[in-house]
Amino acid sequence: MADHAASLVREQFRTAEQQRETETLGMWIFLATEVMFFGGLFVAFTVYRMYYPQAFGAGSADMNILLGSINTVVLITSSFTMALAVHSAEVGNRRLLAFLLVATMLLGCVFLGVKLTEYYQHYLDHKMPSVWFEYAGPNASKVQMFFVFYFFMTGLHALHMVVGIGVLLVILARTLARSFSAEYYTPVAMAGLYWSFVDIIWVFLFALFYLQGLHI
């Protein structure tokens, strides 16, 4: 197995450990860029929410809190299966790794399905800016802005989910091709980091869009 690991060290690296540390560092920096990418939207949303608290509260009241909560549970569960997948890669359990990757992807698909159902409901409610938007109450343009940010941010998040499922498909294929071992599983660990990041973004989106109307 040691030979197997040594053959996977790319020529620019001196040791397998150097390679693993470097690749992991690269992944963390990439996640930092993602934080800044979403961060711009979070800032803009927060600014407008402060400008128009009533309108944004009214928009939030149209959210389906039940579906949103279910999705949150689904996604956090998928992070759990992903973390277990990384662990099973670490201990070299290939079959369990494959099973957990499939489970994670399925949970991701459930999330996207629920999300699409919600989008369809908003469409039926005429709450889809630029396609079909009607709002009878005051501050209609500001309520519309809430929905612009809702579709923009959850849409961008869903796009990241789709990419994540694609990444996991590649990881699954490589798992079945016996590319990973207890000595070398960096790609699994990095996919896990990405998946958890996307999950965390959702937790913030959930709080911003679904919970702000609920003043307890």
Partner: protein
């Protein structure tokens, strides 16, 4: 001083593999650096062409050549191409790409495929922008201010923004690659405080690239969404706030100025010690000042909004922080100057460019303080004073340093010396042409000539003619190096591994370097710029 191990292999990175595919599919950081060099040289002359048209147009007060709509497109495309397709990638993607692994004694960057991908992404972004340009251009200015860009402009805003959006990912890829490489790939013994300043400055640059570029990406995406779907994000008619756009745009675009100038400082920091035969004075302060510029540079964006309706308290804070960022810049200038004191100075071409940089950067930086002062800024904002100020930084600073760096490392890149006399002459032409172009613009701006106008009052004509005359001289100064550097690649004298008797690791291998840079991984035992140690070694040897 590093143990000197010259490569004995017969082939180098240029001759190792042959054929066009060996270039298009290469993962060698040196070849990718050259791909970038060719690309950005092309973009530089496209952007320069727009500048030439503008300067010709401004020869007469009513404008000699174009209508105002065309003029708007000219300065927009000049700005977009020069900022995103020349200045941002200029030194990091060419010299940085070529030199960072060699300077730290590594075989390549940490992620060679990502490096190649960054070039393709960059070219794709450039292509999309050029298509937008050919199909009719953009007239918003390179700053894309809303609501003009999102609602009123009838030009190809989305196409141009998409091109910049795509190119941004190449910046991010480069930044990630550099940070991971500098952290993890250094040769044994090469501790942080033995690194050349070039590496420190590129590390600081990369931090800005990875933290600021995503904000530009999301901002342009918001502009695109607003424009395509006709919904309110920044449009005040729909409850949006155009000033929010300016905040988000400048959160990237001010640090982006440091992406342009920090690598220029990196180059100058390598040239000055070698041609003064003295180690960098105040090495630690210079290294930390790069980091200080990167950090404080993130906190000054609001000085672009002094007249945009920003609150007076924000303006005060941003004014103060803008003064603060001048301190690390000044630390560098003083230390470069102190490095030269009692040095044994030789006036080779790279040194001429470096000294030119010192003067012009100082003028650009000092006039930046005028603009950071709240009262003065109100008087000169949106005038040619601003134009002159940032051209002193970007052209007088970044482009001068880029040219200096290209001359300094040309013997390493190609293995051949360029014609020294001609090179010194063109350095002089660039310096004179630059000052004649842009110094009159300080005066014009102070007298009240607004920027981005296609016509002007008669009394400004003399200064505009001076500026155009300078631009034509500057053009000669840029075309000359293009010709003789290519000529030298084929016909120049062999340079040998270390023509400047420099200390960096990149000079310890042959010129051009072998495909894997070093035959044996070097081991570093002393500080950077150790000319004394080098002398002793030569005496012993």
């Amino acid at each position: 001083m590093a143990s000197q191990v010259l490569a004995q292999t017969a082939t180098n990175y240029l001759t190792d593999k042959q054929g066009i595919l060996s270039w298009l599919l290469t993962t060698d950081h040196k070849r990718i650096g050259l791909l970038y060099t060719a690309s950005i040289t092309g973009f530089f002359f496209v952007g320069g062409f727009f500048a030439v048209l503008m300067r010709l147009h401004l020869l007469t007060p009513r404008g000699a050549l174009f209508g105002p709509e065309t003029y708007n497109k000219l300065f927009t495309m000049h700005g977009i191409i020069m900022v995103w397709f020349f200045l941002i990638p200029s030194i990091p993607s060419t010299l940085g790409n070529f030199l960072i692994p060699m300077m730290i004694g590594a075989k390549d960057l940490a992620f060679p495929k990502l490096n190649l991908a960054s070039w393709y992404v960059f070219m794709l972004g450039g292509l999309v922008t050029l298509v937008a340009l050919v199909r009719g251009g953009v007239d918003t200015g390179w700053t894309f201010y809303t609501p003009f860009s999102t609602t009123y402009s009838t030009t190809y805003v989305v196409g141009a923004a998409l091109g910049i959006f795509i190119a941004g990912f190449s910046s991010i890829m480069t930044g990630i690659n550099f940070i991971a490489t500098i952290h993890r790939m250094r040769a044994p013994g090469l501790t942080w405080f033995r690194l050349p300043i070039f590496i420190w400055s590129h590390y600081a640059t990369s931090l800005i690239l990875v933290l600021a570029t995503p904000v530009l990406a999301i901002t342009l995406l918001m502009v695109g969404v607003e424009r395509i779907f006709q919904v309110g994000i920044f449009d005040p008619a729909l409850g949006g706030d155009p000033v929010l756009f300016q905040h988000m745009f400048w959160f990237y675009s001010h640090p982006a100025v440091y992406v342009m100038i920090l690598p220029a400082m990196a180059v100058v920091s390598e040239i000055i010690p070698v041609f003064s035969r003295r180690p960098m004075f105040g090495y630690t302060a210079v290294a930390y000042s790069s980091m200080a510029i990167a950090v404080v540079g993130f906190l000054v964006w609001g000085h672009h909004l002094f007249v945009a309706g920003e609150s007076v308290y924000s303006a005060l804070a941003f004014s103060f922080l803008s003064y603060l960022v001048a301190i690390p810049s000044a630390i560098k200038v003083f230390n470069w100057t102190a490095t030269m004191v009692k040095g044994s100075i030789s006036w080779d071409t790279p040194m001429l460019y470096a000294i030119g940089f010192l003067g012009l950067f100082t003028i650009g930086g000092m006039t930046g303080l005028f603009l950071a002062a709240l009262g003065v800024d109100v008087h000169v904002t949106d005038t040619y004073f601003v134009v002159a100020h940032f051209h002193y930084i970007m052209v007088g600073g970044a482009v001068m340093a880029y040219l200096g760096g290209v001359h300094y490392w040309w013997p390493k890149i190609t293995g051949k010396m360029y014609p020294e006399g001609l090179a010194r002459l063109s350095a002089l032409i660039v310096f004179l042409g630059f000052n004649l172009t842009f110094f009159p613009q300080f005066v014009l701006g102070y007298l009240g000539m607004p920027r981005r106008y296609a016509a002007y009052p008669d009394e400004f004509q003399f200064l505009h003619v001076l500026s155009t005359a300078g631009a034509s001289i500057l053009g000669v100064g840029y075309v000359l190096p293009l010709c003789y550097l290519i000529w030298a690649w084929k016909y120049g004298k062999d340079a040998g591994p270390n023509p400047w008797r420099a200390t960096g690791l990149e000079w310890q291998t042959s010129s051009p370097p072998p495909a894997h840079n070093f035959d044996v991984t070097p081991i570093v035992t002393g500080p950077a710029y150790d000319f004394e140690g080098m002398k002793e070694e030569l005496n012993l040897g």
